[in-house]
Amino acid sequence: MGQIIFDRSLYTTDAVEAAAAAYAEYADIALEHSSAAVVAVVGAVRGHDRDTIEHSFCNLVLQETVVRMRRAAPTAAREGEQ
């Protein structure tokens, strides 16, 4: 059983949750929330080897985070100028 620690200053909670939901078909992923991080506990995996699934899951979390950050960026930039 693998544990993957997603630091909250680098990954958004929404992104981890979205990726975990997307990977439900391939792995049992439980999320544990703390103030500093979201920990994904990867249980049984299906269809592929554990390494591939865990790494692909991390890639998806990163992609989701970047997309969400970019979507929010124009608003933040406007707020920053005020």
Partner: protein, 154 residues
């Protein structure tokens, strides 16, 4: 070993760039005061198709980037991958700074272009202007058909 943990035992100190090389991965620290987080994200976003990317924070203002190859890779290939990532990060940082420095001027030009487009005459206005225009003399006899011109006595 879980993703994100430091792989100290299998590190191979053969990098030309000073990155830590493992059996199938390269990892290095990025100083956030030099490269903004957006630049790290920009580079990472472009590299997720080529390798597995994982970010962690070993200490404040420092981001550890871990690039894991999708298949077997030599130390030289991993080193090159890390180098390309660093170059991309630098490019992203420069682009970001340039974008921030020119925000005002770009906004000004966009606003000026929109104002100009709003005040430009419409097609109907131009047609109305043509209708209202009085046709003056025709010294070159452009309105006279050529066959009539040719039949006139010299």
């Amino acid at each position: 070993m879980a993703i994100g943990e430091q792989d100290v035992q299998s590190e191979v100190p053969a990098s030309r760039l000073g990155v830590s090389l493992g059996r199938d991965h390269a990892s290095f620290d990025v100083d956030e005061t030099v490269y903004p987080l957006e630049a790290v994200y920009g580079g990472a976003y472009l590299f997720v198709d080529r390798c597995f990317v994982f970010l962690s924070r070993p200490k404040p203002q420092v981001v550890n980037v871990r690039l894991t190859s999708r298949g077997p890779a030599t130390a030289a290939e991993l080193d090159a991958l890390a180098g390309e990532f660093m170059n991309e990060m630098l490019s992203q940082a420069a682009r970001l700074r340039l974008s921030q420095a020119t925000t005002r001027i770009r906004e000004y030009y966009t606003a000026a272009a929109l104002r100009a487009a709003a005040s430009a005459p419409s097609v109907d206005d131009l047609l109305a202007e043509l209708d209202a225009e009085e046709l003056g003399d025709d010294p070159l006899e452009i309105s006279v058909p050529w066959d009539k011109k040719g039949s006139e006595p010299q």
